[in-house]
Assembly symmetry: C2
Homo-oligomer: 456 residues x 2
């Protein structure tokens, strides 16, 4: 083990303490009340980069939450990479289901529990610590490294995309290492090469000026909650297929090679079902679970609110009803096109009995990359070094539109380099990260820079 590796080994406890401090900041980008916390978290991120030895550390303001940038560019003959991550987190709701407070990191059974432990503070932090290890032990990095950390990933914000387009020179890199990813299974290091796209909407219906007594008025006015249920129900047919005209037109069929590769992955439907506590799995007929998750588009209702939701019976016809819903997209669906098709469809089916408002909250394309790229191969070797085992190639059901934007704007190869797990509850109560993976991740990230330096 070299000096960098030894340093990483020796500083294990300090890394956990620092991560605990990072996780204590409730940087919930979706909730306006947390605006100051989000900024404080950006500043904490910048400080940690400065302490790691990076230069040109600064916050860039956006119309939303700030972007953090830093770099180390003293390897003039070497290539340049950009490490990407996000310091914002999902809301902790429902808070009452957490076994320990979401913003007081707690270690149990070798895992650290807190909102952001896995998505993405913990995964981003492995690069901060890997860079620190190189600079503190060797005084230099083997390649040029930039770090870019945003605060709007969890709200599908568009400000980072604008920032990347406006700062091509500042960000110029041959590869982007994306920390916001995951391993396929415990002990199975992975490189995902595809992600689904996302369009997200809020639907608001208003039937009357105020709530009405359901006895005095029931039968003579349309009910927004009932109409909303109708509208949502008619977005899918009886087989669960999305009924928005044209929705499946551009969906690419899965080739035999990928189909076989996915089938060879260690995946057990029954164990998956049990882990979710679902009575049974459910999805498009004719596809395996992994194919449904990685290669097929979806439409999900993410939230519903209308009328009386307290304890007991209130006989009210709600004045308004609200739904949040989103679609995951796959190659070659186009997010903007699907979003327009959805908006047109809602306009077409909206009843004349109430006001219907559609608000677009996110819109990002799917992503699919090659697996033979030299940066991808370097990442393979680094993960094998850190985890003692060659990674598998997977796709992800999640979305991150910035991937496509990095590719298109910087001409960079995007490499997914995550060490969390889908079962880390990244968007649910009791989010966590295995501390063994965290430590191996730091080692793998430190090795990644060395492996990239060998690319000719």
């Amino acid at each position: 083990m070299n000096a960098v590796g030894r340093y990483i080994h020796d500083n294990r406890d300090r890394y956990v303490r620092e991560l605990t401090a990072y996780l204590a900041i409730p940087s919930v980008s979706a909730v306006p009340e947390h605006r100051d916390d989000v900024r404080r978290c950006a500043e904490w991120t910048a400080d940690s980069l400065r302490r790691a030895g990076l230069e040109h550390v600064r916050l860039f303001e956006t119309p939303g939450h700030p972007i953090v940038y830093a770099d180390w560019l003293h390897a003039p003959d070497a290539t340049t990479i950009l490490c990407y991550g996000h310091y914002d987190v999902q809301p902790p709701d429902p808070v009452e289901l957490w076994e320990s407070p979401p913003f007081e990191a707690t270690v149990r059974d070798g895992r650290i529990y807190a909102r952001g432990a896995s998505d993405d503070k913990g995964q981003l932090f492995i690069h901060v610590k890997a860079i620190e290890a190189h600079l503190s032990q060797l005084g230099r990095l083997p390649i040029n490294v930039r770090v870019l950390v945003e605060g709007e990933e969890e709200i599908g914000g568009t400000h980072l995309a604008d920032f990347v387009r406006d700062h091509r020179e500042l960000l110029a890199s041959s590869a982007v290492i994306d920390s916001d990813s995951a391993m396929f299974a415990p002990g199975v290091p992975s490189i995902p090469y595809g992600m689904r796209g996302l369009v997200y909407f809020q639907l608001d219906l208003r039937g009357t000026t105020g709530d009405l007594h359901s006895g005095s008025f029931g039968g003579a006015v349309a009910n927004p909650a009932g109409v909303l249920a109708d509208m949502l129900s008619r977005l899918k047919d009886q087989d669960g297929r999305v009924t928005i005209p044209g929705f499946y037109d551009d969906v690419r069929s899965l080739g035999d090679a990928e189909q076989s590769a996915f089938a060879a992955l260690p995946f057990d439907d029954e164990a998956f079902r049990r882990s979710l506590g679902a009575p049974r799995l459910c999805g498009e007929a004719g596809y395996t679970t992994l194919e449904r998750l990685w290669t097929r588009p979806t439409l999900d209702v993410n939230g519903l609110l209308s009328g009386f939701t307290g304890v007991g019976a209130k006989t009210v016809i709600p004045a308004v009803a609200m739904a949040k819903l989103s679609m995951r997209l796959v190659p070659d669906q186009n997010a903007e096109g699907i979003a327009r098709q959805f908006e047109a469809h809602i306009r077409a089916v909206a009843p004349t009995t109430m006001d219907v408002t559609v608000t677009r909250l996110a819109c990002g394309d799917p992503w699919l990359a090659g697996v033979d790229d030299p940066f991808v191969r370097a990442a393979c070797r680094a993960l094998e070094y850190g985890f003692g085992k060659a990674p598998v190639f997977t796709r992800e059901g999640g979305s991150n539109s910035i991937t496509t934007i990095f590719e298109e704007t910087l001409g960079a190869t995007v490499v997914m380099f995550g060490i969390g797990l889908p079962s880390d509850n990244p968007h649910a109560p009791n989010e966590h990260l295995a501390l063994d993976s965290f430590q191996r991740g730091i080692l793998a990230a430190a090795r990644l820079y060395d492996e990239i330096a060998t690319i000719r």
Copy 2:
């Protein structure tokens, strides 16, 4: 004007002050946190009856909220009536839409605004003050009067029904005067002779143990919010007719006489629509608005809750989804039968992808009475005395299962004797009562006892 009438006239301001104190008690029966307030309100009600000169005033405990009873039985040769009302109120939600605090009664433009002003504290209080006027001015009432005030009307509680069945002798009366009613329109005193029944349910769906990331899991598990929307949507067909098997089997057709009488009432669809702020009215084809409200059954969603309902976009597959829904029933539908049909229907259509729980929250039969009964005729004369105009006969869309129970258990004629208006916002923000109607109501109630004394 006799001594009673003069006394009522002279005490107008005091009545409003006392009602204001009554309305200050947040006796929200549906909300467990208000349990002590509900009891305090029962005690306030009892004190007011005691101060009015009634005897045997006491609270009867129930498994829920207490029942208040009082009587004056010193007219041995005269008939006995029972004045019924309820001291509990609807929740004030959404509180932010109130122009003045819901439990600080405020007089504006001749109306008193507060939760319960109309439904039912204000309407009940006219009898308390009418009885007080007789006893204080004449030392007696012309008939025997019992007063029965419950605290669970707004939650469709069953404890009053049990109480009535268990206390037939205590409550023995020839007529029940039900204060929980309404006038058809401002300045149009009315005697409703029909009410719809009510069955009310909560539906709870659970798909998985916890909320899931909609990217990592979307497409492989059923979505409780989506399934709930489907289930609700399939409770009605495209024409808005309820699809529960057998739902319409026992619905009685409207006769020509009632149809003509309803058509003769002063009712303007466009003014009604405008008053609700609805883009257009909506209901069963082939029926007028009044027919839809009074003579046709309904199914309404009263509340929806699932997943993320805050500001912004959270990409979650909810673990659970909840709906509250209710049906208004008409003669000759049977509430228990319809409730069982609904429960069987839900069991039949519930998917195997999630746990579905149905909870019955209310179950009461519709009511329809004759208009030639001598007590009804006495009420007509009393209302004409108080309001200077003969009342019209109407039905109500609302529900009060106690009506049927009074009839069946006591063998009493039930007379609806209300002075509020449907537009008083009884279950919505800014509930109010016209003070002129309140004052005329006290006069009419005082006269009612005299008119009933003349029945031979």
